[in-house]
């Protein structure tokens, strides 16, 4: 039982990370390869504040998010002006540079050995409560003016510009929003595992989040959440075939990308309206 809760907690943290990737990659179409770097920024900032400077946890959370925002601004401000594929390159380089930095400031961060002995302040309930809040924020963002402008500029940047959308500003706002959310996920991670190491935040993690977004369906927030549950849960379910589980995971992703390119959920969103209709249909059928 303990084990299942731990897996579910990690899945919850991943859901928040994936939501960040969804906003940047799914909604806006910017391929951010360094999303996990914000995760590490959040995790390390809060952990160091609490452990080395005895800052109270509740103060460390906004501080970590602020540092995440600052990092997001430093990277985002110059890069949103670039072409899309260059954005992926820059965010990718940023992620790798952050890891190199963490590895090499050993007296502050513990280097490759990692930072251990972080008090455990988060638990299952806090993580899933945060998931609910972040999900609500993401849904709200998607349906706000900003979200619609994001969709517009993803579909056709030139046309969006012609309609008077400040493309760079919208991109930057989305990027910062996602950066703050991902740093928050990092905080949750650090204070759940009580141990952080640079190796856990490489570009592979960012790539995995993006894979999850695509498997779920680039147009569907529901898809992202369910794909996270499926794809982070799957390796655990396949634990009996421990050696082969990542291979199986890869094959499943390849099959989905090849045979159902719009993702599992396509454009479908799970809404109250849909549930109500389902209820009515169910009643009629019976």
């Amino acid at each position: 039982m303990e084990y299942i809760f731990a897996v579910l907690t990690f899945t919850g943290i991943t859901v928040i990370g994936v939501l960040g990737s969804y906003l940047v990659t799914g909604l806006t179409g910017l391929f951010s390869f360094g999303q996990a770097a914000f995760f590490s920024v959040g995790a390390y900032t809060s952990a160091m504040l609490v452990k080395n400077l005895d800052v109270p946890f509740l103060l460390a959370v906004p501080a970590a998010m602020a540092v995440g925002l600052l990092a997001g601004f430093l990277v985002g401000y110059p890069t949103v002006r670039l072409r899309r594929d260059y954005i992926s390159l820059v965010t990718f380089g940023f992620g790798e540079a952050i890891i190199a930095l963490l590895n090499n400031s050993a007296n502050l961060t513990g280097g490759a050995m990692g930072l251990s002995g972080i008090p455990q302040y988060t638990n299952f309930a806090i993580v899933w409560g945060s998931v609910a809040v972040c999900l609500a924020l993401a849904v709200g963002y998607k349906h706000s003016k900003y979200g619609r402008q994001c969709l517009a500029l993803r579909a056709d940047e030139l046309a969006a510009k012609a309609m008077g959308i400040n493309v760079n500003r919208i991109k930057l706002v989305t990027f910062l929003f996602a950066a703050a959310m991902t740093s928050y996920a990092g905080v949750l991670y650090a204070f759940y595992t009580t141990y952080v190491e640079p190796g856990a935040f490489g570009w592979i993690v960012s790539a995995e989040w993006i894979i999850i977004v695509f498997v779920g369906g680039i147009n569907s927030l529901t898809g992202s959440v369910f794909a996270t549950l499926l794809l982070t849960g799957l390796p655990e379910m396949l634990r009996f075939a421990s050696e082969w589980r990542i291979a199986v995971y890869c094959v499943i992703v390849l099959l989905i990308i090849n045979y159902r390119p719009i993702g599992i959920f396509g454009e479908f969103e799970l809404t109250l309206k849909w549930l109500r209709q389902l209820g009515k249909k169910g009643v009629k059928a019976s």
């Binding site: 992926s88 390159l89 291979a247 990308i257 090849n258």
Partner: protein
């Protein structure tokens, strides 16, 4: 900077060039960054090791080295074919957006890395010593023999590639396809065959690069992540440009050796990133100046 350092940088750069060109070849045609190339390098490096151990009963020295390199290159070609069929053929025929190629290539990269882990476990391996001699002294400059071989073989492989690209029919086809896929198709070219040929060429380069990386460092399943170097080199040189990737790679090699001397091996990646960022902001088309056109 001493000549010694310059030489070290250039020989490091020559391996990066092999990686970067294999990467740039695919980018050239399909316009996406092929991260599966790292997996190809890992897989072929291990196959090369198996070949080296297999042949070592009959051969030694240079012949053994050549046999290893040849088997790895052949394996690379095969892996390239499988990769194209499994991961990209269907996506290409569906005219999917570039981002799907990304996903497919990353997934294939992780898959290949995982296959290596399953069959060879995650322990470190190293190639057998091919030569008695380790250091060559040319005009008071010491150069490690493996570095020298790396320089020679990489240069030869790249020369052959350039010859194929600019002097043969298939090379012409590859260049035509990279210019405009639709027009090339309308002219009656079989784009499947040309893309296949590109993946074979990239695979062969990946195989050679894999063996050299294996000799220079050690073999471990995550060695494919050195693809990052090829990627950065391509950015400096200009994405999709073959000659640009070569120049970028040599520059990157020299830059890295210099930076390691100046700020230490740890912080060098940070500075490399800064250089890359500056390049992207100041001259996003890279050194070569050929920009891959995007629809307005």
């Amino acid at each position: 900077m001493s000549i010694q350092q310059l030489l070290n940088g250039v020989s490091l750069g020559s391996v990066y060039a092999l990686i970067a060109v294999g990467f740039a070849l695919v980018f050239n045609i399909l316009k996406f960054s092929n991260f599966a190339h790292g997996g190809v390098m890992t897989l072929t490096a291990y196959i090369g090791l198996a070949a080296a151990l297999f042949f070592s009963t009959w051969l030694s020295g240079l012949t053994l080295f050549a046999a290893t390199l040849l088997s790895a290159a052949l394996a690379g070609a095969l892996v390239g074919i499988v990769l194209e069929r499994m991961a990209f053929r269907r996506i290409r025929n569906n005219n999917s957006p570039v981002i799907y190629y990304f996903i497919s290539s990353i997934t294939m990269g992780i898959l290949m890395e995982n296959i290596v882990t399953i069959f060879a476990s995650s322990t470190f391996y190293s190639y057998p010593r091919f030569f008695e001699l380790t250091v060559v002294n040319i005009a008071h400059v010491n150069i490690a023999l493996t570095d020298l071989l790396m320089l020679v073989f990489s240069s030869v492989a790249l020369m052959i590639l350039l010859w194929v690209l600019y002097r043969t029919r298939i090379g012409l086809a590859i260049r035509a396809l990279s210019f405009d896929v639709n027009t090339a198709n309308l002219m009656g070219m079989d784009s499947n065959r040309v893309v296949m040929a590109t993946f074979i060429a990239a695979g062969i380069l990946g195989g050679i690069a894999g063996v050299f990386l294996g000799i220079n460092y050690t073999l471990y399943p995550q060695m494919g992540q050195l693809i990052v170097k090829g990627f950065i080199a391509s950015v400096i040189g200009g994405l999709g440009s073959i000659t640009g990737a070569m120049i970028g790679a040599v520059l990157l090699g020299v830059l890295e050796v210099t930076l390691i001397g100046a700020v230490g091996a740890g912080l060098a990646p940070v500075f490399v990133f800064i250089v890359m960022l500056v390049f992207l902001l100041v001259r996003p088309r890279g050194i070569s100046g050929v920009i891959v056109q995007e629809k307005a």
